[in-house]
């Protein structure tokens, strides 16, 4: 067990004793397959009720289940992603109970021979520390239909007069992930769920959308004095429909149990439903003496046997996992955890980032662009970062030109915006331009459009050509800057006087004016430096007459 768990701060103090919250989480994750677990009906969310049903998933008399190979492989991959064991022998069992959304009044599930066993889910907490939670198992089962309750004010069972059932969801493959009780805080619970989601999405195992029901989770929670090895009485919390709900529900339940214990009461083992609106948990009608599910191996389904070569093949199939990617970005590229998670979580960002860095650009600069300007542009234009016209090579070029001082960062941002939607054909033309006899870059002054660029080269895509053609080159010559500074000082006497009178904030405005004079190409740091120098010198004379440095 990781250090983080032992050192977790006590969740609450009761009567002077430090208590910790001990939690285990059970998640049901709908798998992203085209068809259902045991039949060829479509597995889609939001279809017209009862249109994706057949004899098998409706439990009609005489129907038989045939398991989906893809669903089985996705569960195995999910397990492998967390280091689980894949036992050589696995089988399906019937879990017998009656409920109107259960077409057969038994659910095909796995009892004692699940597809995967064990495994560990590592995660980062907001404070930057690492935590982990062991998995007990991941197994495969089928989802039930969906019932809505009519006649009650709030759509809940209590007070309803009847229910309406839609079997579209019945038979959808469901992965059940059961964790050991290693979670010690609401933050850890959310981090755990985020780690699961990140991995399952990256693996293509599931969309993991709590709002659509493709992830449902129950939390088992108990309190015990820090240092005690026996568990306290646990309650099961259900009905949370977002990660935020999970956090709030856990916090609420910890508080409730603590108050109970503080008052000398005892926690009752029960199931409690989270009420999002009220912000509390309510006891759910207690079930009759725990269900006797009468599990037995399903005689309609031959068992699954894995050869080591099957596991090897599935392991090889797996893409670079998010966890190891995050690790590399943090320890290798020096990104912060938050930056690394955002890069990995954003669709297509990680691949794009990697490509830009591969062209030689500095990782911190790249991540700032990707998470900054590029993500903004993606939002504004509705085009994904890796689907825009701004190729990784082009961005690397722009970054390189900025770091060489050829252009300033403002020009870089402008070029990024231009190339985002640019219709210019993408050719790799830098050395081609040079080979064609283009004069060295520091011919005419950088900030001035160079009309000597030969016609035949103007259509090329070389960044250098463009910079020269349009006079985008950064002006870093002190003399040139001083000339600009002089012009600005002359035109802004009032502001200059304010600055000298102590209003140092107006420096930003003055730098901006220098930038404007230079059509954005002045080296902003140098501009500010020369401005300060000019104003200090001038400050030595109070007669308002100008003089150059």
């Amino acid at each position: 067990m990781s250090q983080a768990i032992e050192n977790a701060p006590a969740a609450v103090t009761i009567g002077g004793t430090a208590y910790e919250a001990v939690m285990g989480i059970e998640c049901h994750v709908e798998l992203k397959t085209k068809t259902k677990m045991f039949c060829g009906c479509l597995n889609v969310f939001g279809a017209e009720p009862n249109t994706n049903v057949c004899p098998v998933c409706l439990g009609l008399p005489g129907a038989l289940p045939v398991p989906s190979r893809l669903a089985i492989e996705l569960v195995v991959k999910a397990g492998l992603a967390f280091g689980a064991q894949i036992p050589a022998f696995s089988k399906f069992d019937r879990k017998n109970y009656f409920y109107p959304d259960m077409p057969k009044d038994y659910q095909i599930s796995q009892f004692d021979r699940p597809l995967t066993q064990g495994g560990v889910v590592p995660f980062w907490l907001p404070d930057g520390s690492q935590g982990s939670c062991r998995l007990t198992r991941i197994h495969l089962e089928e989802d039930t239909g969906k019932s809505s309750h009519a006649g009650s004010r709030d759509g809940r069972i209590a007070g309803s007069t009847h229910s309406l059932v839609d079997f579209n969801r019945a038979g959808v493959p469901l992965m059940e992930c059961v964790s050991e009780p290693d979670i010690r805080s609401a933050a850890a619970a959310v981090a755990y769920l985020e780690a699961l989601k990140r991995t399952f999405v990256a693996l293509g195992v599931s969309d993991v959308k709590m709002e659509e029901g493709s992830l449902r989770c129950d939390v088992n929670l108990s309190l015990r004095p820090l240092g005690q090895s026996e568990y306290g009485t646990k309650t099961e919390i259900k009905n949370m429909n977002s990660f935020n709900s999970v956090r709030r529900a856990i916090e609420s339940e910890i508080a409730r149990q603590a108050a109970l214990l503080a008052g000398g009461g005892r926690v009752i083992q029960e199931t409690r439903g989270w009420d999002e609106a009220a912000g509390v948990t309510h006891p759910m009608r207690s079930k009759e003496a725990a269900h006797d599910y009468r599990y037995f191996p399903d005689p309609d389904l031959p068992p699954i046997e894995f050869a080591p070569s099957d596991v090897t093949r599935l392991r090889a199939d797996m893409i670079d996992l998010p966890q190891s990617r995050i690790d590399r970005l943090v320890s290798g590229d020096g990104l912060s955890i938050v930056q690394a998670q955002q890069i990995v979580d954003g669709p297509g960002l990680a691949g794009y980032y990697d490509a830009v860095v591969a062209f030689g650009a500095r990782s911190q600069t790249v991540v700032n662009f990707v998470l900054g300007d590029l993500s903004r542009l993606a939002n504004e234009t509705g085009t994904a970062v890796d689907a825009s016209r701004l190729s990784p090579e082009r961005l690397a070029e722009i970054i390189g030109a900025t770091e060489a001082g050829t252009i300033n960062s403002k020009t870089a941002k402008q070029l990024v915006e231009r190339f985002w939607a640019s219709a210019e054909p993408l050719i790799r033309g830098v050395s081609a331009a040079l080979d064609s006899g283009l004069p060295a870059i520091d011919g005419p002054a950088p900030g001035i459009p160079d009309s000597t660029v030969p016609e035949r080269l103007r259509a090329s895509d070389s960044l250098d050509v463009l910079i020269r053609l349009e006079g985008l080159g950064q002006v870093s010559d002190t003399g040139a800057i001083d000339a600009l500074v002089a012009a600005v000082v002359a035109e802004n006497a009032k502001t200059v006087a304010d600055y000298r009178a102590g209003k140092t904030k107006v420096m930003g405005f003055l730098v901006g004016q220098v930038m404007k004079q230079s059509r954005g190409t002045a080296n902003p740091q140098l501009a500010e430096e020369r401005l300060r120098a000019a104003l200090v010198l001038r400050g030595a004379q109070h007669d308002g007459s100008s003089s150059s440095a």
Partner: protein
């Protein structure tokens, strides 16, 4: 013409000497005449039959040769046929119409068979006399005061009474073989996994098999050849290719070793019955077979084993009959009460008994002692057979200890369960097994009552098994030695 065998009929239709439609109409008329007395059919599908017949005639006219062209087929009412009522002889499905067709049936229909109607059975295939049907009573054509056997009583009676050329039954613990024996016809249960169960309403999933009932071994072989084989809709069907049995039916038994089971001694049988079986064994020898004594020490545990496993599986399989999505609903204010009232009203006593037995056997605290132990006993029984088949090619024994008994003769469940004594062990081991007519006994004031010889072979040895049965049948011709007494024509007699 309608008395002919399936092979003869198909030949005639394919050669266009007679039309499928003519045959169908003739059979329909025959059923109208006789079924009032026999009660084999729960539902007739005459319109559907005529449609199929017309299609067969059209295909044959276009040059196709169909293996079962125009052959009149009766279908046990626990098999789904799209658009037909499929009731399992239960009140809980009395008004249910199936929206799809069972694979095995579809294959036969595609091969030209004509669906004449759905036949009666013990409710949900649970029983050995057909008396457990909630929707009708079927009588044995040989003696209308006696049962036809079960659970495929309707199918066996229909074939025996000439109300169908062939029929489909299902066998879980003897439900094809025992009624076939009682009705003097051939009934064949293939190896488990040979014929698709998709569309067969499940009783005990690890035991159920669909099989043919016919007047001759050759006809059963023909049906088997057409419908057997892997089905992607049934994960328990084997991919093993089906070696056609019909073309390989032998006429003698030279070189064949037949095992006689020590534990199935004839001494406990009635004198007349014993004599029939002793003679049957002699006839096997006369055909060239060598009789070998084999032992099945665990066979005596067969009934106990079966009556744990089958009810356990059926208690789960029948849970879906809950009044929510199809079938009978006895509506109450809440779901729980609705379940209970619906199932109480919809299921008969035998079904309830087996659901209770099975639920109990699977329940917490009893699972290991009952269900698991029974599955272990099953392993031992299968092993006994494997050992026995090391020294013989097939096993012969009575299909049942007695001929058909009178209605209401067996009121005690256990004595009814023991009717399956000779057929259950083969089911537990998944073996191919059939009953072929082997003689008659007479009872005072009654007509002759048929008896059946049960022959069983190793897993997947259908071809050999059918061959042995065919040789025996050809030499003894018991099925053709007598004909059923004239059945009263008027339905008024019922």
């Amino acid at each position: 013409m309608i008395e002919g065998s399936a092979a003869e009929i198909a030949d005639a239709v394919n050669a266009r000497r007679v039309s499928a439609l003519e045959l169908t109409n003739a059979l329909a008329a025959r059923i109208d005449e006789r079924d009032g007395a026999v009660g084999a059919y729960l539902a007739r599908t005459t319109e559907l039959a005529r449609e199929h017949a017309a299609r067969v005639d059209a295909r044959v006219a276009a040059g196709e040769r169909l293996p079962l062209a125009g052959v009149g087929l009766a279908i046990k009412d626990n098999m789904c046929v799209a658009g037909t009522p499929t009731t399992c002889a239960s009140k809980i499905l009395a008004d249910w119409v199936a929206p799809y067709t069972a694979t095995a049936v579809a294959r036969l229909l595609e091969a030209g068979a004509i669906p004449l109607g759905k036949t009666n059975l013990d409710e949900f295939a649970m029983g050995s006399s057909c008396e457990n049907s909630a929707l009708g009573r079927t009588a044995n054509p040989w003696d209308l005061g006696r049962v036809p056997g079960g659970s495929s009583g309707g199918s066996a009676a229909a074939v025996a009474a000439g109300e169908a050329t062939v029929a489909l039954g299902s066998d879980t613990g003897g439900s094809i073989r025992e009624p076939a024996a009682f009705c003097g016809v051939v009934g064949f249960k293939p190896t488990y996994g040979r014929v698709s169960r998709y569309g067969l309403i499940a009783f005990a999933s690890s035991l159920d098999q669909i099989g043919p009932i016919s007047r001759s071994v050759a006809d059963s072989a023909l049906l088997y050849d057409v419908m057997a084989g892997h089905d992607p809709m049934d994960a328990t069907t084997v991919e093993r290719p089906v070696e056609a049995a019909a073309p390989a039916l032998r006429d003698d038994l030279r070189g064949v070793r037949i095992g006689i089971v020590k534990e199935f001694g004839l001494a406990e049988l009635g004198a007349e019955v014993r004599a029939v079986y002793e003679r049957a064994y002699d006839d096997l020898v006369k055909l060239g077979a060598e009789l070998v004594e084999v032992t099945l020490p665990t066979a005596e545990y067969g009934v106990a084993t079966y009556y744990l496993i089958a009810p356990a599986e059926c208690s789960s399989n029948l849970a879906r009959f809950d009044g929510m999505r199809y079938g009978l609903r006895v509506e109450r204010p809440d779901v729980g009460a609705t379940y209970e009232a619906t199932r109480a009203a919809g299921f008969g006593d035998e079904v309830k008994r087996r659901i209770l037995i099975g639920t109990y056997a699977l329940s917490s605290g009893y699972y290991d002692a009952y269900y698991v132990r029974a599955q272990k006993a099953r392993t031992l029984i299968a092993a006994d057979f494997a050992r026995a088949f090391a020294s013989c090619d097939a096993i012969a024994c009575p299909a049942a200890a007695t001929p058909a008994f009178a209605f209401a003769a067996k009121t005690d469940p256990v004595s009814m369960y023991l009717m399956d004594y000779y057929t259950i062990p083969m089911s537990l081991a998944g073996l191919p097994s059939l009953s072929v007519p082997c003689g008659y006994v007479t009872t005072p004031g009654a007509h002759a009552l048929p008896l059946g010889l049960e022959l069983s072979a190793p897993l997947f040895a259908e071809r050999a098994l059918l061959g042995i049965a065919h040789a025996y049948e050809g030499a003894t011709r018991h099925a053709f030695a007598r004909s059923i007494p004239d059945l009263p024509r008027a339905a008024a007699l019922r």
